[in-house]
Amino acid sequence: MKTNAYDMDDIDMAWCPGCGNFNILKSLKKALAELSIEPKGLVVVSGIGQAAKIPHYFKTHFFNGLHGRALPPATGIKAVNPQLTVIAESGDGDMYGEGGNHFLHAIRRNPDITNIIHNNMVYGLTKGQASPTSQFGFKTPVQTKGVVLEPFNPLALAVSQNASFAARAFAGDEEETKEIIKKAIQHKGYALVDIFQPCVSFNKVNTFKWFKDNTAYLDDTYDPYDRRAAFEKSLETHPFALGVIYVGPPKNTYEQNIGLYDKDKNPLVFREQKRSQKLQQLIQSF
């Protein structure tokens, strides 16, 4: 498929010129095109924030829900129609702050969704407060003396809870980011892609250059199947590792675990349920 299959005419994009979000959008569109995922077969679920506006900017089904709440609807969608490719995409504040509990439990639940986080280490849309991933000392109008909380480490968390797939990318490298997104989408089960994304308006510290200087791709010898190694990698900071950091042992997805798709692949929502008789039977047992 061609990338322009996702192009929309005449849209007014609310992102700032130069923002890393544009790069991510490009990588995502390319990844989808190369995987031949049609807009008709794709649902992008997002929360609220600058990153979360992404489904308004390309052709796809979308559920742009509440701040912090992209993962639950994504899970609900997948449960009743596993045939759809589902991406849950939002910012770092959305996914790790307001939505932290869903992040934790989505990893455990393992729906076959791709979870993309635009990690700019700041709350963009609300104009520059610290996010969970803001680095020590980061000053904002609210964190006037600089951030003092331990920066949230999504990769380490994912490894700690045996996520089925966890990767980190950098928006500055569209090609590699595309490759990583492709792997995540192709992976069966929950797949985390945390993408370093420069925010040119509110994060003057973690710039394109900073990310470039402070990241390094995993080399070919790296074994993402080794959980302990993955944990070590996820703790490294300067440079931060880029690439697929962890792939967990094979396990059933959430949809498989529901147990209703073993024989019948038809999504629940398309089934002609005939319940009269079953109900009759059940009530007899009362």
Binding site: N64, A74, I77, S276
Partner: protein, 577 residues
């Protein structure tokens, strides 16, 4: 008791003991056998929020006529531990026959007790194998007194304990038998007997509780997705559906919290499912934002709220109708909703089923508002009609130019779902254009707000009318909603007032227009609710302008009894205006 004239046609049996003593098992065994024997049976529980200890009771009514409300009067009381008599003191009268271990149970016995049948329950149980058999012996005694079918009883005991050791099963059967013969003996020796006429039709009826009725309604309503977080007293519905999820092809998920539950449900609905969430007040208080989202993205969802006393954790296992105003206003901003409040088990079934249709039709959140009393009460009803269970989800196959938020005359946009048709289906929690893309066009905002609210016209027109029980030419009108249906009905039966009728609301929001007409016809109006601030009275005032001056309010966590309701209605009607 000499003549049948004087014998009760309605027996009230109470078993009282600690959590862990198995009084629920007694309840289960008895109610099924009563109903099997052709009697009407009603059973309700009041219990503490703990797993062991404390003092809980089950009140069972066996009757020749339909009985579906709590009576204070106790005919036969089986106290299983020493706190029981104190706990029930107010309900015990000289007519109450107390059966139990006098020495153990009756340290300082309420003086009104005139009939005590002393049975060494503990010794009997110990002889069989241990204290744990006390409850089954007790069940046996009652079966014996009422001369139930012992074989059936034994078979039920066997089935009930089928997962256990053979030996345990045997001992339970022994317990039931021993109790039964004791009971028979008492009945004969002490002349305990009742005028219960069996009615064969009952055997074809089903005995279910509120949680099951809501559950059946949901299954009949086409529910194929459930996400919830456990919370008393709503968990029964979660359990019921989970138990039958596989067979009925329902994806049922225990969410990590209530926020996830409502948002998962909306995701599933967006994709075309019929989604249910079940919770209680505290859980609902967490779902406000999600409910508002449902309003904004015009995505159907059915939310069952089983009320318990608040604020905060309150009394987790008790009953109240204190969350009406929360359900009315949960969620920020302005959007339509419907609130249904079943009065009977039949209502619970039909309204829950209907809720899914309404939700899909209007693309809104629809609430089923029940309470702990309702959830935990059993009685027999004719089996619901399952013929008409084909759902119309109001879903269209989309075209290429499909617009999910199309502005239409009646405010309802044709509902597409992703993956069905050629169109793209978007929903957005921000204000949006017809394609659901985020907008800051403020004229469009006004149109969209009006589009959403416009649906209220149709919704109101189709509101379920209140049910009038009693004379059409009433002068006094009693108002109730939800779970107080039967207790008010029976209280009015008892009172036998000529010019008094009862208006029961099973849809509490929006109220249909005839509400006002009903109210204006009355000289005196009395409203009864399980809360402290008469929330439904306020809603009626708001919707009709009529300010009801007389209220019957109870908010200690226990359900109204028939006697109490009768007395309070009487009192209210006699009061000066």
């Amino acid at each position: 008791m000499s003549s049948n004239q004087n014998k009760r046609k309605d027996v009230s049996i109470v078993i009282c003991g600690a959590a862990g003593q198995g009084i629920k098992t007694v309840e289960k065994l008895l109610v099924h056998n009563f109903s099997h024997s052709g009697f009407h049976v009603f059973s309700t529980k009041e219990y503490m929020s703990r797993v062991r200890g404390g003092t809980n009771s089950v009140s069972i009514r066996v009757s020749s006529q339909k009985a579906a409300a709590l009576k204070d009067r106790i005919d036969i009381l089986l106290p299983l531990h020493s706190e029981a008599l104190g706990h029930l003191e107010k309900r015990i009268s000289s007519e109450t026959i107390v059966i139990g271990d006098k020495e153990k149970i009756c340290k300082d016995c309420p003086t009104q007790i005139k009939q005590f049948i002393d049975v060494p329950l503990e010794d009997l149980a110990r002889d069989i194998g241990g204290k744990i058999f006390i409850n089954i012996i007790a069940a046996g005694i009652i079966s014996g007194i009422l001369k139930l079918d012992l074989d059936k009883m034994k078979k039920d005991v066997k089935d009930f304990f089928s997962q256990k050791d053979k030996q345990i099963v045997e001992k339970n059967i022994q317990s039931i038998s021993q109790g039964y013969s004791k009971g028979e003996k008492f009945s004969d020796q002490k002349g305990i007997s009742f005028d219960l006429t069996p009615w064969t039709e009952i055997k074809n009826q089903v005995l279910i509780n509120g949680a099951e009725a809501v559950g059946f309604g949901a299954l009949a309503g086409g529910c194929d997705f459930l996400s919830s977080y456990p919370m008393s007293p709503s968990t029964g519905v979660l359990v019921f559906i989970s138990q039958h999820a596989h067979k009925f092809e329902v994806a049922a998920e225990q969410a990590e919290d209530e926020i996830s539950a409502i948002n998962m449900a909306l995701g599933a609905s967006y994709a075309g499912a019929r989604s249910l969430v079940t919770t209680s007040g505290g859980g609902l208080a967490l779902m406000g934002e999600g409910i508002s989202l449902a309003g904004m993205i015009e995505t159907p969802v059915v939310i069952h709220v089983a009320q318990r006393p608040g604020p905060a954790t309150g009394l987790p296992t008790r009953t109240e109708q204190g969350d009406l105003e929360l359900v009315l206003h949960a969620g920020h901003g302005e959007f339509p909703r419907i609130i249904l409040a079943p009065g009977s088990l039949e209502d619970a079934f039909s309204l829950t089923q209907k809720a899914f249709d309404l939700a899909d039709k209007f693309q809104i959140p629809v609430f089923i508002l029940t309470d702990q009393f309702f959830m935990d009460s059993y009685y027999n009803i004719p089996a619901p009609d399952f013929q008409n269970v084909q759902a119309n989800k109001h879903i269209i196959k989309t075209e290429n130019d499909y617009k999910r938020s199309l502005i239409t005359k009646d405010g309802i946009s044709p509902r597409g779902i992703p993956g069905y048709g050629e169109g793209l289906v978007g929903v957005d929690s921000d204000e949006h254009d017809e394609s659901s893309h985020i907008t800051e066009d403020l004229d469009l905002r006004t149109q969209m707000a009006e589009k959403r609210l416009k649906k209220m016209d149709q919704i109101k027109k189709q509101a379920i009318p209140p049910e009038l029980v009693g004379p059409e030419d009433y002068r006094n009108l009693i108002i109730g909603w939800g779970s107080t249906l039967h207790v008010i009905n029976e209280a009015l039966d008892v009172l036998g007032l000529k010019k008094t009728a009862f208006l029961h609301f099973k849809q509490v929001y929006p109220l249909p227009d005839e509400t006002k007409i009903y109210l204006e016809k009355a000289d005196q109006i009395v409203i009864a609710e399980h809360n402290a601030t008469s929330q439904f009275k306020k809603l009626i005032k708001l919707e009709t302008g009529i300010d009801i001056s007389k209220t019957i309010l109870k908010y200690n966590g226990l359900a109204f009894s028939v006697e109490e309701m009768a007395e309070k209605i009487n009192h209210a009607l006699e009061q000066e205006d």
